[in-house]
């Protein structure tokens, strides 16, 4: 699997760190325990198209949102997670 980083270009999968599903982009309000549980644990876990959060850890270190297919490992689009959006972690 190769991932086309918008800043660095087409790179080997092992330069990237996988965080998890795009659920991580919507942080729950502080103190909302039910929403925090869903944010951390509950997943749609699709067989097919998904969007998930990766980091170009061994490159530019940008956080990336990938649209890809979990059944084929095909990566369809890669976009930067803009600072305006909630950056995970």
């Amino acid at each position: 699997m190769r991932i086309n980083c918008p800043l660095c270009g087409d790179r080997d999968r092992r330069e990237f760190y996988y965080l998890g599903a795009e659920d991580y982009l919507v942080r729950p309000a502080e103190g909302d325990l039910e929403a925090t549980h869903e944010y951390l644990h509950i997943r749609k876990n699709p067989d097919g198209l998904t969007k998930d959060v990766w980091q170009h850890e061994a490159g530019c270190r940008a956080w990336l949102l990938l649209k890809r297919n979990t059944a084929t490992h095909e990566v369809l689009t890669v976009e930067l997670i803009k600072p305006k959006k909630a950056i995970p972690i």
Partner: protein
């Protein structure tokens, strides 16, 4: 038909014409008391113990493929009870005891081989952690022996003891650990369940779960609707898809784990050897192939195949541990779908829907759990309360954070196990 040595000799002398199919191929009935979704190891064991331990007569297992086509036929066959945390410790201890009498119980040779498992350690700190783990195993009533370097050398003379990065300090020896023939476990449970009247319905894909007023009514399948009083979802890597049919979302992310087999070799590796620092473990099958694997590829996947970087890493770790295997040729590799929970421990629990139960989240360690998983899931479905050794394995632990069972101590997060 009961299998025994006399029968084998008799059939061998008379042209093997007297063997009958190991189980029936029944048409689905209109209604069952209990339906198990998933004809893998865990589902078949659940059906068997529902019939055997709880006397339930009217049970069906519905399987979209054929018996043994899922993870039960695609794993690296290791059986052990070396868990540390309360909850896991007593559960896997119970499972190993069931393994030790399984062949007699099922009248089926599952080739359970207690050849011993050695987990290597490479530093003083790791030795302390393994000594503590060994004490926990012994407190649970299982066996564990802490070996020093010479003790490991006596068992595993072929290792590279002076590896510059991970010199071998010793190992934790679990003598009752070992392997079993994986698909024979599926076939053994299938045959034994069938003999107790369980209908095994293959090539029957569940396409919907009927729920009326928060109570389960039955399932829709590719072979028509089937009504049921109780339904158990035992679908491993596909748990999320099946749960979604009942409108449920579960704390599972499916990942890919790879495994590898070499060409058949003469007996060389007598034990199961685990090299945790390199994420590598190995044993030798009875056919002679070296069976080995490593860690997850670490991203969500249903592809049933992995990527080259992890393959390369596993080969490098194997070469670092035992350079002699460099001459063996890898025959094939494959990937399985692992139903990963945030804390790396499984779930056997009720769901929000009445009479609908789930057995899932086995991560990459479901094979050794097959007997106890079936035992505890059957208990839960029949008695509607959790079995003593699986009562901590709830959905609720993630919601509250109380009772998280994180064996690795890495945190309760999907990408960390």
């Amino acid at each position: 038909m009961r299998y025994n040595a006399f029968k084998i000799i008799k059939e061998g002398l008379t042209g093997n014409k007297g063997w009958t199919p190991a189980w029936r191929e029944p048409e689905p009935k209109f209604e069952y008391d209990m339906i198990i979704i998933g004809g893998g190891g865990h589902g078949l064991a659940t059906a068997y113990y529902l019939a055997k331990n709880h006397g339930i007569k009217n049970i069906a297992v519905v399987e979209k493929g054929y018996i043994g086509s899922g993870n039960i036929g695609r794993n690296t066959t290791i059986v052990r009870a070396n868990y540390f945390l309360p909850g896991n410790s007593e559960f896997y201890s119970h499972s190993l005891k069931l393994w030790e009498t399984l062949e007699k119980e099922l009248n089926y040779n599952v080739m359970h081989s207690q050849r011993g498992l050695i987990n290597l350690f490479h530093s003083d700190g790791q030795r302390d952690a393994f000594a503590r783990r060994g004490n926990m195993m012994r407190n649970q009533g299982d066996d564990a022996e802490l070996l020093n370097k010479e003790g490991v050398r006596a068992e595993l003379p072929y290792l590279d003891f002076d590896n510059a990065r991970f010199p071998i300090y010793g190992g934790l020896f679990h003598k009752r650990g070992g392997t079993a023939r994986h698909d024979a476990v599926a076939w053994g449970y299938a045959r034994a369940a069938d003999q107790l009247g369980v209908d095994l319905i293959q090539k029957c894909e569940v396409t919907g779960i009927d729920v009326v007023g928060e109570v389960v009514q039955g399932v829709q399948t590719s072979r028509g609707p089937i009504r049921a009083k109780k339904v158990g979802i035992v679908a491993a890597g596909r748990s999320s898809q099946v749960a979604a049919m009942a409108g449920l979302e579960v704390p599972i992310e499916s990942h890919v784990l790879q495994a590898f087999v070499t060409e058949g070799l003469k007996p060389a590796i007598d034990h199961v050897v685990s090299f945790g620092m390199g994420h590598f473990y190995i044993s030798q099958s009875d056919k002679g192939g070296l069976v080995f694997g490593g860690d997850l590829d670490f991203y969500a996947s249903y592809a049933q195949r992995g990527n080259l970087p992890m393959m390369e890493h596993v080969m490098e770790a194997g070469m670092a541990l035992m350079p002699a295997i460099g001459k063996a040729k890898v025959l094939r590799s494959w990937g399985g779908i692992m139903d990963m929970t945030p804390d790396g421990s499984f779930i056997i629990d009720r769901t929000e829907i009445e009479n609908l139960y789930m057995d899932c989240g086995w991560c990459y360690g479901g094979f050794k759990a097959v007997p106890a998983s079936g035992w505890c899931m059957a208990h839960l479905m029949a008695e509607d309360r959790p079995h003593e050794v699986a009562k901590r394995h709830t959905f609720e632990r993630f919601r509250t954070g109380y009772g998280i069972m994180d064996e690795e101590g890495t945190g309760s997060q999907h990408n960390l196990h």
